[in-house]
């Protein structure tokens, strides 16, 4: 019962944030909407007993990533309103028709009950408790190679970002 109420509250908050991202004219408002969605998802993770993932979600996404976004928004400046005129005239009608077909198909499958989300799962199993110890055990036994590869990926990304900034400065100096 508690989970039901939480699901609807947080789900509505997440969807509202996501809609804000799309429809906000001001880029800062879009960033705030994304922040709301990220926080709502963090609480949903806690409801699903993914404690460590929820903490990382708040620290990495709501902390680091959103700070980076806000920095860049301030650097670039809040853009003037976008030009919404369409250069391909037939595109909107085509997309509208396709969207209607997909909506009918997807809605029919979902509400017709033919669409099982997790077919191979045995229902009623215990919810895995994502404590730090449990996740770390899984991470450093079965997934250790993927863990090392992501470490490499992060190093490459950091070096690449620095290189992008450096190259620009050298060109300007010449």
């Amino acid at each position: 019962m508690v989970e039901l109420v939480l699901f609807f509250l947080l789900g509505a908050a997440a969807v509202a944030g996501a809609v804000t991202v799309i429809f906000a004219r001001n880029t800062i408002h879009a960033a705030m909407g994304l922040l709301g969605t990220l926080f709502s998802l963090g609480v949903i993770y806690v409801v699903n007993l993914a404690h460590l993932v929820a903490a990382v979600q708040v620290i990495v996404y709501a902390g680091a990533v959103m700070t980076l976004f806000l920095f860049v928004i301030m650097l670039i400046g809040v853009d003037k309103t976008e030009d919404t005129s369409e250069s391909l005239p037939f595109q909107r009608k085509l997309v509208g028709g396709l969207a209607l077909i997909i909506l009918l198909l997807g809605g029919g499958l979902a509400f017709g009950g033919r669409f099982s989300w997790t077919p191979a799962a045995t229902p009623g199993g215990p919810i895995p408790n994502g404590t730090v110890q449990a996740v770390a055990e899984r991470l450093f036994t079965g997934w250790v190679l993927a863990f090392e590869v992501t470490a490499l990926l992060l190093t490459i990304a950091a070096a690449g970002a620095i290189a992008l900034a450096q190259f620009k400065r050298r060109e300007e100096g010449q």
Binding site: V15, V21, S116, T118, P123, P126, I127, G142, T150, L153
Partner: protein
């Protein structure tokens, strides 16, 4: 009523669709980038829900890797957006047609 994994997956599908819609509709590169983050988060929610349905921790471990890749992607992507902005003084993807044939 009991909240099952399918409910969370429905929410994730809605969030993913909103993110996709944003990428198709908006032209500000920063907002498009936020929509990518939205889609990644929707997939993370799917991982958590599937891990819950299968009673395994692997779903939560997968979320970690998605988080790391998303962080790396944000760093490089924002660096590219800033570099483009310095050259062309715009963040609108429609005006970046320098490679058009």
């Amino acid at each position: 009523m009991i909240v099952t994994a399918g409910w969370y997956m429905t929410l994730a599908a809605v969030l993913f669709t909103i993110g996709l819609l944003g990428i198709l509709v908006r032209r500000n590169a920063l907002v498009m980038f936020m929509c990518v983050e939205l889609m990644l988060n929707a997939v993370n929610l799917t991982f958590i829900a599937a891990g819950r349905a299968h009673s395994t921790l692997d779903g939560q471990v997968s979320v970690f890797f998605v988080l790391v890749v998303a962080a790396a992607e944000v760093v490089v992507g924002l660096a590219i957006i800033v570099a483009i902005f310095r050259n062309r003084a715009t963040a609108s993807v429609d005006e970046l047609s320098g490679l058009r044939g």
